[in-house]
C-alpha cells in the first residue's frame, strides 16, 4: 500500500474488521472482508453496509443555481420536487459523459453526489461553467454510507422508524442516535436500501450502530462491483466516459421529457440526433457462454475478427453462477438474443445479448406496499 493514498474517515474501522485495503479513486478502500461472493450473497439475502465516503458530496446554492445546472445536465430541475434524488450526468458539448451523479433539491440548494475518482474534475467543471453567483461547497466534512439489501429497511427502521415512510428515490433529514443525517432510499446494488450522508466525525458511531443490527455485515468494493453489474448499472470510467453519450449508454431515461424536446443543455444537438436516428453503438448486457469470465478490455469482433465493439465491464455473477458482462456493440446487434463473439487474450468467446438487469431490481417503489 503506497503512502500517497488518502484515508477515509472509517479507515481504522475497516482494518479492525479485517478488510483487505486497496487503492481506489485515490483512497485506501476495503475491497473485501470475508470474501466477495459471501458478501455479495449476504447483500442479496440480508443487508450490506458499504462505505462510499470517497464519493463527492457537493452543495450548489445561490441565485441561478437551477438554471445554471440545467445548462449542464439533461434533468428537468424545474419540476424536481424537494427531497427526490434524480439520476443525471454532466455532459460535454459533444454529448460525452463527464460524470454520472445524483442531484436532489434540498430547500434553497441542490445536493449532488458524484463519483470519487472524478470529483475534482467535476468540481472544476462546475466552477468553470456555473454562473458566478452560484456557490459550490465540496462537503469534505461529510461521510457517506450505503445500507443495501432486502433486510436493510428493517435494520435501519430499528434506529430511525421514520425511514419506513421513504420510498425508492425519496430522501429526508433524520436524526439517528443524536447524529444528524440525510437519508435517501436509493443505492447502486439493485436492492432496496438507503444512502446515508453523515458528518465524518460521527460516521464511526453510526457504522457501529448499523453493524450491531443482526442483519448487517460490512461489504467491500469487490461485491459492490459484482452487485451493480448484476443490476445492469453502469460504472463511470468503465461503462461510461467522455466518449460515450447517454443514448449510446442506454440511459435515455435520464433525459427528461421537457429537456429532450427543448434542449438548452450541453451535448443536446448530438443527443437529439441520436434519439432521432439511433446511435451507432449501444451499451448492452451479455451472458457469456461457459464459465470463464470475459472482462473489461475484451473486444467484440465480427466474423472476420475485426473489432466492432468492446467489453466495458465483465465478471462472474455470484447470483447466476455464470459470467456476465456489459459491452458496446453496433446498434444492429443490440437486440436481446443476438449472439456476439468476444476476443480475450487470443481466444474467442460466444455471448448472447441479454436484457438488463441480469438480476431483477427489488426497489421499494411508491404504492408497492411494504
Amino acid at each position: 500500500m503506497s503512502d500517497s493514498e488518502m484515508s477515509l474517515p472509517l479507515d481504522g474501522w475497516h482494518r479492525r474488521l479485517g478488510a483487505r485495503m486497496v487503492a481506489f479513486a485515490g483512497y485506501a478502500m476495503p475491497i473485501q472482508y470475508e470474501g466477495i461472493i459471501a458478501e455479495h450473497r449476504w447483500t442479496r439475502d440480508s443487508a450490506g453496509l458499504f462505505d462510499v465516503s470517497h464519493m463527492g458530496q457537493l452543495l450548489i446554492a445561490g441565485a441561478g443555481a437551477e438554471k445554471g445546472l440545467e445548462a449542464l445536465l439533461p434533468a428537468d430541475l424545474a419540476i424536481l420536487k424537494e427531497g427526490r434524488p434524480k439520476y443525471s450526468m454532466l455532459l460535454t458539448d459533444d454529448g460525452g459523459i463527464v460524470d454520472d451523479l445524483m442531484v436532489t433539491r434540498r430547500g434553497d440548494h441542490f445536493y449532488m453526489v458524484v463519483n470519487g475518482a472524478t470529483k475534482e474534475g467535476d468540481i472544476a467543471w462546475l466552477e468553470t461553467n456555473l454562473p458566478r453567483a452560484v456557490v459550490l461547497d465540496h462537503m469534505k466534512e461529510q461521510a457517506l454510507l450505503a445500507l443495501q439489501g432486502p433486510k436493510a429497511a428493517g435494520a435501519l427502521a430499528r434506529l430511525v422508524p421514520e425511514v419506513a415512510d421513504l420510498t425508492f428515490m425519496t430522501g429526508d433529514a433524520f436524526t439517528v442516535a443524536g447524529i444528524r443525517t440525510w437519508i435517501s432510499r436509493s443505492g447502486y446494488t439493485g436492492e432496496d436500501g438507503f444512502e446515508i450522508s453523515v458528518p465524518a466525525v460521527s460516521v464511526e458511531a453510526l457504522a457501529d450502530l448499523l453493524l450491531d443490527q443482526p442483519e448487517v455485515r460490512p461489504i467491500g468494493l469487490g461485491a459492490r462491483d459484482s452487485l451493480r453489474l448484476e443490476a445492469g448499472l453502469p460504472l463511470y470510467g468503465h461503462d461510461l466516459d467522455v466518449t460515450t453519450t447517454p443514448v449510446e449508454a442506454d440511459l435515455v431515461f435520464a433525459l427528461s421529457k421537457r429537456r429532450r424536446a427543448e434542449g438548452g443543455f450541453r451535448g443536446w444537438h448530438r443527443i437529439a440526433r441520436e434519439l432521432a436516428d439511433g446511435p451507432i453503438r449501444k451499451r448492452v448486457g451479455l451472458a457469456v457462454e461457459g464459465r470463464q469470465p470475459v472482462r473489461e478490455g475484451a473486444l467484440v469482433v465480427d466474423g472476420e475478427g475485426n473489432e466492432v465493439g468492446k467489453v466495458t465491464s465483465g465478471g462472474f455473477s455470484p447470483s447466476l453462477e455464470a459470467p456476465i458482462a456489459m459491452a458496446y456493440v453496433p446498434l444492429a446487434d443490440a437486440v436481446a438474443g443476438t449472439t456476439v463473439s468476444l476476443a480475450q487474450r487470443g481466444r474467442i468467446f460466444s455471448a448472447k445479448v441479454a436484457p438488463m438487469p441480469f438480476v431483477p431490481h427489488r426497489y421499494h417503489r411508491k404504492g408497492a406496499g411494504s
Binding site: G35, I36, G222, R295, G315, F316, P323
Partner: protein, 123 residues
C-alpha cells in the same frame, strides 16, 4: 516426498520423477474467490516458466506458470468442475496438474517451506 515452492506462489510436491503442482494458500488468499480454472491436458509439454494453467477469481485473471518443466500426466478435472477447491484446499484437493519432470535438478532452484514462509512475510 518433499514440497517445494516458487516465487510465483506455486507449490510442487515431488515423488520420484513425478511432480504435483498447485498454488499456495497465500496465493489463493490473495486471489479471493476462485470461479474458473483451466488446467493443461495430459501429454502437453510444459517448459519451466511457461504458461501452464489459468485461475480466475471474481476480480481478476491470473496465469499459473510451470515451476518446473516436463510432460503433463494429468490435469485436475475435479478442480475444473469445482474451482472453489482452490480456496478450500489449495495444497490438497485443489492441485492443478501432475507432470513427469524433464530435469529433476530444476527443483533445486525452488524454495523449501521455511524459505517460502520468509518470502511471503516480505510480500
Amino acid at each position: 516426498m518433499s514440497v517445494y515452492y516458487s516465487k510465483e506462489h506455486e507449490w510442487v510436491r515431488v515423488e520420484g520423477d513425478t511432480a504435483t503442482v498447485g498454488i499456495t494458500d497465500f496465493a489463493q488468499g490473495q486471489l479471493g474467490d476462485v470461479v474458473f480454472v483451466e488446467v493443461p491436458q495430459a501429454g502437453r509439454h510444459l517448459a519451466r516458466g511457461g504458461d501452464a494453467a489459468v485461475v480466475e477469481s471474481v476480480k481478476a485473471a491470473s496465469d499459473v506458470y510451470a515451476p518446473v518443466g516436463g510432460e503433463v500426466i494429468e490435469g485436475n478435472q475435479a478442480l475444473v468442475d469445482d474451482p472453489a477447491l482452490v480456496n478450500s484446499d489449495p495444497e490438497g484437493e485443489g492441485w492443478f496438474f501432475k507432470l513427469r519432470l524433464a530435469d529433476t535438478h530444476e527443483i533445486n532452484d525452488l524454495m523449501n517451506a521455511d524459505q517460502y514462509k520468509a518470502f511471503c512475510d516480505e510480500q
